[in-house]
Amino acid sequence: MKIAVCIKQVVTREWQLRVNEPKTWIRDQDASFELNEPDAYALEEALRQKEKHGGEVVVVSAGPARATQVLREALARGADRAIHVESDTLAAADALVIADALACAIREEKFDLVLTGLQSDDQGFGQVGVVLAEKLGMPSASIIMEVQASESGLRVKRELEAGWFQWISLPLPALLTIQSGINQLRYATLKGIMAAKKKEIRKVTASGSAAPAQKILRVYFPEKGKKTQMIPGSATEAAKALVQKLRDEARVIA
């Protein structure tokens, strides 16, 4: 099976966010970056599928030059080769533009299976994978917790809400967005890192033509703006008053 995994480089969760001067994005010049967590699960799933069925795993990332970091990491974990759609503007682009750039870069390769993470830790659109499927003319299924692949197609377990799941079947080629926690991530190994140096990272220029679908006017820290009502009185009085407020004012209990 020929599998593509789309991965994104995002700022580390530990980095303290700072907003840039026009206040339209973050100031990330001195940030540190890492592989978007859901994408790590997608990559792991691809590697496991390859171990079962053979084939090739190709990682693809659309982003600025620094994104080679996550491509290298993916190669070290076992991906066979990488495609880097290099463009500075893609770092903060919207889902449609990113998916378009990815589609242009991988369409010719005719993958059997394309995997992406559920959503990215930065923009959090939750759209790129599904849009990409449509651009590639593939069926898709999202928030996947298990993948059973055969020659005839896929049977995958979709997560619904509130503890519900559903199996669905779809023909190949197809695209899946992978839910975090679907598998246990493997550790990088020294051998893997050394082997990665010899693997190919093919750079392509972004050739997508999609017009932006959203415009960010500004980004800002959410206002705290909570007014705390301290409830006075003895323990019994306060408890009584609190229960009443929760019932009548906040209406969060019956």
Partner: protein
Amino acid sequence: MDRETLEVDVLIVGGGPAGMSAALRLAQLQKAQGGEPLAIAVLEKAREAGAHMLSGAMLDPSALRELIPDFKEKGAPVASEVHHEHVYFLTKNSKVPFPITPPPLQNHGNYVISLNRFVKWMSGLVEAEGIDLFAGFPASEVLYDGDRVVGVRTRDQGIDKHGAKKSTFEAGVEIRAKVTILCDGVRGNLTKAVVRRLALDEGRQPQLYAIGLKELWEVPKDRIKAGTVVHTLGYPLKREEFGGGFLYAMPDGVVSVGFVTGLDYRDPMFDPHLTFQHFKQHPAIAAILQGGQMVRYGAKALPEGGWHTIPRVYADGLLIAGDAGGFVNSMRLKGIHLAMRTGMLAAETAYEAIRARDTSAARLWKYEERIDASEVRRELYPVRNVHQSFGYGLVPGLMYSGLSLVTGGWWLKDPMPAHAGFDRMAEIAEYYGEHKLDVDAPVRPVKVDRQLTFDKLTNVHHSGTRHTEDQPSHLIVYDTNICSTRCRVEYGNPCTRFCPANVYEMVDAGDGTKRLQINASNCVHCKTCDIMDPYQVIDWVPPEGGGGPQYDGM
């Protein structure tokens, strides 16, 4: 257990300035002299090169100029040269400028840098040379063949809290090398083990250490000019304590503010974190920080013992460089250039030895010879007794510091006698006399406002620290009974104070007594507990690869 092995010529453990300089120097020698290319590998425990770097930092560029003459063209992040320099003696509410800046603190020609960024930049150069840089791989053990060091083993990954293997378990790898250069920094776990096993500290004075706490701030851009550096002595330290504060201004209103205290304080109730808060509240410092935002926090120990505490830094198959060897000029609060320099000298020695097919101690002894002939000795020898002399108090210490420059360091006995720092800590009863003390309450509390002053946990949050939660504690306390019994009475559990990350807590045991709780995942890898615990029952061992702080911009 079956372990993979990896053979290299030179293995460098620790990707700080010492390790990166050693790697670059090896690549340069290789290029200049040709021949069969050497296999070189660098191991670093941080997830990414530079992530565990915390320093002031003012860089003396002497070693950098030699190693990378075109460092500016290569884009070294050395944004601001030092322009204005102030030294103050602080009293509680005022500051007295020193009439002249004492010579060791004269920093013209130096740069204010972020060591995190600087090392990240160096790592790019190292990788461009084709050297294998393995970030996220802590070395847990030294491998020996008799007394010969033959490499290291990396830590096993994927072990749960209870010591069982997880499904993702990955056994550590044995890396075998002709020469192992240990650059594992202050109180490096490997250096510590190897110095003990091979008795490399025989005839040397015990190392002395200090702990430095630091915050990175962003203040209004016009508040302070980039390249301004401030050093302080005095408040909030007591006269008997060695240390001082620093504040370095970088471009765009980025300010590095920190406080360093000798880990040889007597007062068992001393709390470096609270001291740092008091320091920031001093009007001279608060005026600069007010209205700004704290963006990063961290802490790290540094060796301050100087020349007489440096162990033998070579053995069969082994060299030790940088902070691991104790190469720091404590009077100038500078170690980066010495780490770089010793890393370079170690590389030169290793390269020659490998080419000569002799990596025995007899051959590697050349390293010591090189050090003795270099700037390193010229810089460290004259100030060899500085920290030790502060052991006699601030005023004699200061006099001594001044005098050493004149006399070349000759003073009283040479070398001055010194004890290991933890040895000097007094017992509560001795220090506070008979009057009752609540050891769970600070002696000099700070009302935390979360603007200028912070509690430890909020601070730790800003260190970006992350560890896999489900793993064994990497802080090994050999006897936790002592904590609730002897230590509580004798020293009042100083670990709860000197740990800058709230790793150690004494909690109710449920039977009216207290027990030690270790929040290992808070640890910022400063090594203070390993150094300062009065009973020496704490061992810091590396946690799972990639764990630890994320010192962006520090």
